[in-house]
Symmetry: C2
Subunit: 350 residues, 2 copies
């Protein structure tokens, strides 16, 4: 660093003041055509690129927004990132991405980094609960919007899918296919509403809630795998499983493969989130799909309003998008027929 030309170098070489250089570069006050051209010429000759850090210190604006995700390898988050980028890049914002790996302490560190780097705003997919820095950020009015997940006990702007409706749709679909014992594999966050939707579907259909059919872990392939194994080792195993995120769906698929079980013949599967490969998988995966790109754009757009300090009165601080059920092949009624047959066989052999 420090090797490049500074504004002083160009001012000196052009025979003008640094104020003038600054003004032509930022188009911030009138400068005669000739001096303007001259300055621009020198800028080119010297290959001068203004220091964003000096500018940031002077203006107290960095034109960058920080993004904190729990898992950058999750396609859901990369799609979210693209949505955010699509909205903010044209507005001249740079994005700095922090990856927490679902560790609350790492998230706390990331928030601190963004705070000290003086980002203009933050988009956070939180993991864990309230925290000192989050509290500080809120108090000092740093524009911040939550995405995908909420933080218990903190009222912050939030944009997310309608988790309850999505889980309700998925579970209802399974019930419609005749399933009565439905396993759920859940992550840490986002859990409450998804579980509520699941239960609502059961209740609405007069089915009992059996908590031994719940498996909780974190949103990962490993959890999906061990969760499916655990559920299928149940004395009265579920005939269908609802996996509450795409990584867990993949994990459950790995488990089925290991166990030598077929889907949907032996067990039906319905996933949360779509992926590029879901439609050509064997079987094609039935999923409940989030409008991920839209969610990202909405979060970015909301953040932008907050950063622009528009009268907060008209801004809706909580946005919910509907999910869509995409029926493919992973949970045909076949599995139930199979299950009933199995039960009959069991009875006969006894």
């Amino acid at each position: 660093m420090a090797k490049g030309a500074t504004i002083h170098h160009v001012a000196k070489k052009a025979g003008v003041s640094t104020a003038t250089v600054s003004h032509v570069l930022n188009n911030t006050r009138y400068v005669s055509t000739e001096t303007r051209e001259l300055v621009l010429q020198v800028v080119r000759e010297l290959r001068y690129y203004p220091s964003a850090v000096a500018r940031g210190l002077a203006t107290q604006e960095t034109k960058t927004v920080g993004i904190i995700f729990s898992d950058i390898a999750n396609p859901f988050f990369t799609a979210l990132f693209k949505g955010i980028e699509r909205e903010l890049a044209p507005l001249g914002y740079d994005l700095i991405l922090e990856n927490t790996g679902e560790h609350p302490e790492k998230q706390e560190h990331s928030l601190q980094v963004l705070l000290s780097k003086q980002v203009d705003g933050i988009i956070l997919a939180p993991t864990g609960q309230q925290s000192p820095i989050l509290q500080l950020l809120k108090e000092n009015g740093t524009p911040l919007v939550l995405v995908d997940r909420s933080v218990q006990g903190m009222d912050l702007p939030l944009v997310e899918v309608n988790n309850r409706q999505a889980a309700f749709a998925a579970t209802s679909h399974l019930i419609g296919d005749g399933h009565r014992r439905i396993g759920v594999i859940l992550g840490l966050d986002t859990t409450t509403d998804r579980l509520a939707g699941y239960m609502q579907a059961l209740e609405q259909n007069g089915l009992p809630v059996d908590e031994s059919l719940f498996y909780r872990g974190n949103a990962s392939l490993e959890t999906g795998c061990s969760g499916a194994k655990a559920l299928l080792a149940h004395a009265a195993p579920p005939t269908a499983i609802f996996t509450a995120n795409n990584l867990m769906t993949l994990g459950a698929l790995h488990a089925l493969r290991e166990l030598g079980l077929r889907c949907p013949e032996d067990v039906a599967l319905i996933g949360f989130d779509d992926t590029d490969w879901a439609s050509i998988f064997t079987p094609p995966l039935t999923v409940v799909q989030q409008p991920t790109g839209e969610i990202g754009r909405a979060a970015a757009s909301l953040l932008h309003k907050l950063m622009s300090d528009k009268g907060s009165a008209e801004i809706s601080l909580r946005q919910t998008f509907p999910a869509q059920l995409i029926v493919r092949g992973s949970c045909s009624p076949a599995c139930l027929a199979n299950y009933l047959k199995r039960q009959k066989d069991d009875r006969l052999t006894r």
Copy 2:
């Protein structure tokens, strides 16, 4: 911005100079235990977090490295990111990620952003050729390492997989299975060596090179899809296809599905890069696998050496990692048997 406490506030409240505050925070000169504790106490009370931008301006070091990828949705790059992060995070570096979408102009913009943000170093997976800012970065000695791809006409530190060997292994495997007409779907970058490996395998086995079996596009699902379709519409279609990156493999798979073709019965497929779902796909995908995490770590480690300004003599500026062939089910010799049978059928019906 500007709402938080500054170093002056804590200095004043603690009754010391800003120098002292700075020194206790950075552990950079001796401070008596009592003043130290007092300062720390005030820091906590005021919830003071130093401004990284002011610090950056003063020290000419930002403790952040910039990363430029062409496609953040590509699992290869997210794995690379994780490798980099794993190496650099413990060293106290923050990462800022730029996404170019394979657009050279966007890359140029990203480089400029990183330059003006005064990052301490850059890791770049380049798309496109030489550029003014890249040239400037090189001249002014900004630590920069290329990853995955090289830049024509510029000698820059680079860590990548052994593309030629990888493509050679993939193609040889196909030839070993009896294939004689092998299609290749190629991206824009990385192409030369992969094609060279492909050709080397053909030549070494005395097979002719047929350029009508090459399909070029960019590294995307769409290219893989249209490429497979085009190749299979060939008058004398290939019996096997080598897709030069994971997104293109997925695209080719989509094409097969659309065309109602089976793999490997109708056409064999071998891909570049492994994915989480490849092993449980139907058929399980045979691929040539890069040690992606290692590549990321190596690039990060090399960059760190460059940033630490260690005697450049001992640093090896070009590192190559071997790829590994993982044989699964997508290119069994079955396809050739099938192909021969088809030819026979054709002959009979004529």
